[in-house]
């Protein structure tokens, strides 16, 4: 009986993993396409400018915040579009964690629902809680 139960649990776990794998791949592909698009615009417009990464200036305010990135994207600025792609990329593992909450809830695993919510809260804190965003 106990073995049957654990096997069934293992199966749902595996199904959940496969779904998560697909989610992650879709997120990465989407962000790569957006980054590539933005990169093309950026290189077409600025490709011949001289490179300057030796001295650290920090990014301008519009490339540091979600609202600024969205504004730059709507203005079709290459750098803004790349940054949007990077935001999507950062959001991909966060979406994975959020999705896992439902997975564990479906398995009636309350302890892991709570653990997963803790991870999600830590992620949200780092994305939203840091100054400037």
């Amino acid at each position: 009986m106990a073995q049957e139960e654990s096997q069934e649990l293992g199966w749902t776990d595996h199904r959940m993993e496969i779904l998560i794998g697909k989610l992650l791949r879709a997120g990465v592909l989407l962000s790569a396409v957006v980054v590539l698009l933005g990169g093309t615009v950026y290189l077409l417009r600025h490709g011949h400018t001289r490179v300057d990464y030796r001295v650290f200036h920090g990014e301008p305010a519009d490339l540091r915040s979600v609202s600024g990135i969205v504004r730059d994207t709507l203005a079709l600025r290459g750098e803004g579009i790349i940054q949007l792609g990077l935001l999507l990329l950062i959001a991909t593992p966060v979406a994975r964690v959020a999705f896992s909450i439902f997975g564990f809830a479906e398995e009636h695993d309350r302890m892991y629902v709570v653990i997963t919510i803790i991870v999600l809260l830590v992620l949200i804190y780092s994305l939203m809680g840091s100054p400037g965003l």
Partner: protein, 278 residues
């Protein structure tokens, strides 16, 4: 150098780094920062931001290939992600407070350490370990398909593993690397989780860990789109190629050569950090 030339060079270098990182299992992130900062003269803060982004891409991109095998343990992963994400925030916060020279020194030491780990023969786990009360309560014990059927395993020393994971997260957030080697060490050696389960679960955790510090890096202005674009696309393409060529086999000689490269880069980072040239 024009931005176009620079982007092409960075993309090509990142492609090779991602490919070798996937083939050797050492990850591409560890060589991205030295490549950018030592060879191309990029400020180490920009280099770390770009590397962090590429780490998320490789981890998430490879996950789909790994989960099909049904080896990784999502409960172990999730439980330990509490430690790695908290560590990542600590590391990213630390990175904004210490000098770039100090970051470079830590980076050098971590590179040399991870190369050393890859040379050291792995101590085989005793598979007959008895169940641990805490691990059982947390439902961490599991099983995975092996050639001879289903193999069960019991997880040990949960607090030690959790603490090591916090450390791995801190290094990841501080240096912009996946710190997969340390994650595997914590699971395989400290918690006695079978090696295959450790490596696949570690890959699963790397993306979440890196996402926790990436938010902080982005809002601090460390993530430059012009630099991150060729790094992310290059490493992603390279690592997908690498995993496609070989999912499980890590050729020994390639691993050795790559680890020597890592030691050279690590020594250089250490030297630059100590002499204050970075």
């Amino acid at each position: 150098m024009s931005i176009l030339e620079f982007s092409l060079i960075v993309a090509a270098g990142s492609l090779v780094a991602g490919f070798l990182g996937a083939l050797t299992g050492l990850g591409g992130g560890v060589v991205i920062v030295p490549m950018l900062s030592l060879l191309l003269g990029v400020d180490i803060r920009y280099a770390i931001g770009a590397s962090l982004v590429s780490v998320i891409a490789t981890s998430s991109g490879a996950a789909a290939a790994y989960v099909r095998e049904g080896i990784s343990n999502i409960r172990i992963g999730m439980f330990l992600e509490v430690a790695t994400t908290l560590g990542a925030i600590a590391g990213a916060t630390l990175a904004t407070h210490i000098s770039t020279g100090a970051v470079s020194i830590v980076f050098g030491l971590v590179l040399i350490g991870s190369a050393f780990l890859s040379w050291k023969p792995r101590v085989k786990n005793a598979s007959d370990a008895s169940p641990d009360a805490l691990a059982t309560r947390l439902r961490l014990n599991g099983s995975f398909p092996e050639s001879g059927g289903i193999r069960k395993y019991h997880v040990r020393r949960v607090p030690l593993g959790w603490s090591l994971m916090f450390g791995a997260g801190t290094l990841s957030g501080l240096l912009g690397i996946g710190s997969g080697a340390m994650k595997v060490l914590a699971m395989d050696q400290a918690m006695r989780i079978p090696f295959k389960v450790s490596t696949t679960t570690s890959n699963f955790m790397i993306g979440v860990t890196a996402a926790a510090s990436a938010g902080i890096y982005l809002s601090r202005g460390y993530i430059d789109p012009g630099l991150s674009m060729p790094v992310m696309l290059g490493v992603l393409a390279g690592s997908l190629l690498g995993t496609r060529v070989l999912v499980k086999v890590h050729p020994k000689w390639l691993r050795r050569v790559f680890s020597i490269v890592i030691v050279v880069l690590g020594s250089e980072m250490l030297y630059k950090g100590i002499s204050g040239k970075i």
